[in-house]
Symmetry: C2
Subunit: 497 residues, 2 copies
């Protein structure tokens, strides 16, 4: 026993010194505190590690204090700490013992996520060039925002988000996207995904069972709706894009729910469609004007609600951006925007513009869970927008992406003349049509070259069975940093037929 | 007609100039762009505002261009933009008309949240002194974090949160709270609330119906569990605090589920208890050592899971902090911590330390919804912790709050000697016992003085019917900024019996 205590003593000594210096302890009370903490930590580790077995009786505080050359009350305090935490038990007449309960160590180590040997070049769509994030301008805005922030901005906040950001967004969205709103109708959320989840939950709570979606889209979004308890039903897609005429044959008008039931967004079960009107993802076409009109007419006639995913509305190259569908009918369209493409997904900042009837429920759902976004990032984005830095950044990014788009088109014309690029008027990605039956082999060939690309098949809704077989790549030319762009383009041309 | 077009022209002129200068347009192409956008915006507003009624035929692009003194193709482009957006319709042979659909304006203005005439003094618990948020040190950490961040930190991230923060937390929690973990077991979340919601959803998904909670607590938390589909059952509370012996009579062992069913956290339906072991909220006592032991024994014996809400583990004044219960059995305890008390709720940053079996499901639930926290705040907090700024801030805050606690106790001793303060060894709040039957009248008197305080009644679980009638205030002495503290204390003493 003597020897093990001595060993323990050595450990304690080391730990004690370490703790005392780490905590910047000064003489007197602070030294006592540091030594006590060191002793407590060392004893706890000894129990946890099994060196002090369950049931072991510890030396009296007097004798351990003498062994270690420290004050007796320090030992007594350390014992007391560990009794309070449950590592030791003190019983009248039987001294202090290690608790009889077996000590538990975590069963399995958590699975380690190995850093996968990633691709050399990444042309997968969905992420902007992260290297061009305006770090200095963002920090400058953060500094200004912090200086201007009232103290209560740091408290539990309005679930709609900071009023500074909602005000900046209302102005920006009206100016840049033709959105009709005011700050009270805007709810800031942690990216598009949280917005869609909140909406899904609210709509499911109203009895909705199904959402019409586009035949081509993101399975992440379909899965978010599925988690909320909603089926997704794909709308037909043809050479003019998504066909909105079929909305009428859609949710709520099937067997069991009388057609023309007059359900309404204000109270009943709305029929709902999730669309990307400004820039179909991933096909890259804007929703045809007749079909925009048909969608709004449907929503008015049948009490429908359109969820407008305006993920990259800022990036148009050959014409003015198509304004938001929301402007046509702010009572029938929920507008969803995000900073994920214009700035960076890592900010986790998005925004919804909500019709009044549904706004209260969404705010309640968000507030009930207190899923707010960090106030400092919200204030920084507000400052970034109102100072004009956002417009400057978007203009610069638009020029860079447009240049890449032009380089992609030019490279294809000379290196792969049989491959037609579409959806190139806007956004951060293009669709490259491949000869029938070659999509998978091209992706495979790319992966051998350590080039990550995605095929069109992965964007096809599983229930969209009447889609024509189309082989294509969805190429995110916005994704690579500048230094890797030329190499990525070269690698791409190398694997195209 | 002539006159209305002229009026329109004036508007256009104004808007066009404004837009051109705002966007910093240069000569040539950019001017065309600016004028086109100005015209598009003005026409859209004219349609939206009803000045251009549905069905109105617009002048030919040639004649409007002549009227306005701008290029014809600018007008044609603007018409094209508005056709694409659905405001105008162009038909062969009938020119360009305002779409026949009635224009919709939002129905009801969203309810305005008026800035309520808030209290002069706020002693409600739950919020730290926001005025003492270390703004300069935080910005410094943000600058360093931004400089060090790899580009991929700005992309879609690991749903567990940034590895830099999880690594810093693993080290800090082991050192300061005796938590046994590694970075892979930690999941960063948007405050305690998101953590509890995620856990509630996962546990409900496993078939759990009920969670044991403390008789005194926060209805916000009970409601979060309710939203996840879980009932809450209060545990008895006596002079030693929450009684964990009654856990065995708890969820899963009632009628209809055989006792000793051996359900286990690894696979089956765990029995779950939500506790505040280090500092019962709001009563302010640590969980008694015997009851800590009983809780862990229960969890082992019956396959239970303890959710440990360690909301203010950093703030202890008269002794070492009680280490986390999680250290006793990392496989049976989920540790939940937060920056809301130690820094500010507005950061929306919390963390969970999860046993392996449940970690994967929580990560999946969080990742499936992409509810990540902003990467920049995570990186900043990581830098804040590893640089030692967090420890320094906590030490400073501990001294300030301790001084306030001492001032509160001293003021009570002289000004309200019949009021006993308890739960004062730790945290940011104290419980002031009142004479029977006076709680409501004291709160009422306080509100007349514009002093916000909260009574104990609001922290009582509705099903905790066997609690003794206790009249008390829960006073958040940490809440006011320094300049308001003396006044708040004075106002409090003025309303106490």
């Amino acid at each position: 026993m003597e020897e093990s205590w001595a060993t323990l003593g050595v450990d304690l000594h080391l730990d004690t010194v370490g703790v005392a210096s780490r905590t910047g302890a000064r003489a007197g009370d602070a030294t006592h505190t540091g030594v006590r903490k060191g002793l407590t930590d060392a004893l706890r580790e000894a129990v946890r590690g099994g060196r002090l077995a369950p049931g072991t009786r510890l030396p009296s505080s007097r004798s351990l204090a003498a062994d270690l050359g420290i004050a007796r009350n320090t030992v007594a305090d350390a014992y007391g700490d560990l009794v309070a935490e449950g590592w030791l038990t003190a019983r009248q007449g039987s001294g202090t013992r290690v608790t009889d309960r077996a000590v538990s160590r975590p069963a399995d180590p958590a699975p380690r996520h190995r850093a996968a040997g990633g691709p050399t070049y990444n042309l997968q769509p969905g992420t902007p060039d992260l290297a061009s994030f305006p770090r200095a301008a963002w920090l400058k805005a953060a500094r200004r925002a912090m200086a201007a922030a009232p103290n209560d901005a740091l408290g539990y906040g309005d679930p709609r988000g900071r009023v500074e950001l909602r005000t900046a967004l209302a102005d920006y969205l009206a100016r840049a996207r033709g959105v009709h709103t005011d700050p009270d109708r805007i709810v800031v959320c942690a990216g598009f995904a949280q917005g869609l989840s909140l909406l899904g939950g609210v709509l499911r709570g109203r009895g909705l069972r199904e959402v019409a979606v586009e035949s081509y889209g993101l399975d992440v979004h379909w899965n978010l709706l599925k988690r909320a308890g909603l089926r997704t039903r794909p709308l037909p897609f043809d050479e003019l894009g998504t066909s909105t005429a079929e909305l009428s044959g859609g949710p709520g008008s099937g067997p069991g729910s009388g057609s023309g039931s007059g359900s309404d967004v204000a109270s009943g079960t709305p029929k709902v469609a999730l669309l990307t009107p400004a820039h179909q993802f991933p096909m890259g076409v804007p929703l045809h004007p007749d079909r925009r009109a048909a969608a709004v007419d449907w929503a008015r006639r049948e009490g429908g609600l359109i969820l407008e995913d305006d993920y990259d509305g800022e990036f148009r190259y050959d014409r003015q951006p198509v304004g938001a569908l929301q402007g046509l009918d702010p009572d029938r369209v929920v507008y969803l925007g995000t900073a994920s493409k214009s700035l960076a997904p890592g900010l986790r900042l998005g925004w919804m513009v909500l019709p009044a009837p549904i706004a209260a429920e969404v705010v309640e759902a968000k507030g009930g869970a207190e899923w707010a976004c960090g106030a400092l990032d919200q204030l920084t984005l507000a400052e970034f927008i109102t100072s004009g830095a956002y417009d400057r950044h978007v203009r610069g990014a638009r020029l860079r992406y447009r240049r890449r788009r032009d380089q992609l088109v030019a490279a294809l014309a000379t290196r792969a003349p049989d491959v037609r690029a579409s959806g190139i008027a806007a956004g951060l990605h293009a669709v490259l049509e491949l000869p029938p039956g070659t999509e998978r082999s091209v992706i495979q060939a790319a992966s051998w070259q350590r080039l990550a690309v995605q095929g069109l098949a992965s964007f096809r809704h599983p229930a969209a069975t009447d889609l024509p077989e189309r082989d294509a790549l969805v190429v995110g030319y916005g994704t690579p940093p500048d230094h890797a762009w030329a190499g990525a383009l070269e690698a791409l041309c190398g694997v195209l037929p």
